[in-house]
């Protein structure tokens, strides 16, 4: 067995597991369920993965890595207004999710089943990511682009709530592209529902 085919089989196990974790939840999804979906015996899974939790770990941290990379790309850009920076951050987040909606849903809903110290590491990454979006919002408040009257915590939590639920209702077969959806989401949060006075 070559290394390449072994990696590919492991990735297949993880991909099918992601679907199962999303459907039933991590705890309710059994290794026997997973094996059946793959057409093998449960014991055979362990020649590809070390444990059930390893699968969850890979899913959560691979997503986290992609989110971080996307954010860093936006942060490195020069001469952006706060609105532009926030918009591009949101678009990047949506694009990362759209690349794998199943893994995104697992990332969002099942990460709490990670054991320590992985759970702590995960939560630290998340709080760091959120804080960096919070900085974008604060920059906009400081330079007058955004209202200073809005509670910063409320603003950033509303932003993340909106982003994180997207995997639960976004239809990947729809005509709308991730970047467009991200732009619409950004517009809604920045400009609001209300008709602009003309």
């Amino acid at each position: 067995m070559t290394e390449v085919s072994s990696i590919s089989r492991k990735e297949q196990v993880i991909r099918v597991a992601a679907e199962l974790f999303r459907e039933k939840g991590y705890v309710a999804a059994s290794m026997r369920d997973l094996a059946q979906k793959l057409g093998i015996e449960a014991a055979s899974l362990y020649s590809h993965i070390k444990s059930k939790e390893e699968i969850l770990h890979v899913l959560c941290f691979d997503m986290a890595k992609d989110f971080m990379a996307s954010l860093e790309k936006v942060e490195s850009k020069q001469n952006l207004t706060a609105s532009e920076r926030l918009q591009q951050g949101i678009i990047g987040h949506v694009e990362v999710m759209a690349k794998d909606l199943t893994a995104s849903a697992v990332f969002m809903n099942e990460h709490r089943h990670l054991s320590q110290p992985f759970l702590r590491d995960f939560l630290l990454l998340r709080i760091n990511y959120i804080n960096r979006f919070k900085l974008m919002i604060e920059a906009g408040m400081a330079n007058g682009e955004f209202k200073k009257t809005i509670d910063k915590k409320l603003a950033v939590m509303t932003l993340f709530s909106s982003l994180n639920w997207m995997p639960l209702w976004y239809d990947p077969t729809s005509a709308i592209e991730p970047a467009v959806l991200g732009k619409q989401l950004s517009d809604m949060l920045v400009n609001g529902l209300k008709q602009n006075p003309t």
Copy 2:
């Protein structure tokens, strides 16, 4: 044993179970965990409740009933602008959640573990509730209060995402009252982050 004390004990079981379900998730929370928290044996739980799922059922449908009652009160009001109606709907939703943040978190995260036909009933209630908020948004678009350029589904899903994550970050000991938080949330979604042109 009087009926009153029996009901009270059952309610206590359900309340402690809600905390456990929120902490560990419905599937990972065992009846032995629950019994231990209550200081009794696992088998003794069944003199108060019929099954583990009965607890989840009560938690989910009691919350659903409260949400519906709150919405109906807003719908029955006359002479409200779309913004006002939406704001009051949001405030009502936040107030219902704030009355029991633990049950709200279970309602949001664990309802999918309901078995049929209860899961179907639950999802029908939820889609009905969401659609009635969607009608408020559409009314605002129709009368010119809200932009027609925003995708209705995106708007209502953003609204619900924001609302439903609140139990995960709202600090009940904070000075901010639920009605005020609801108003802030409504302002953010209706008016957006951007500074109004003056």
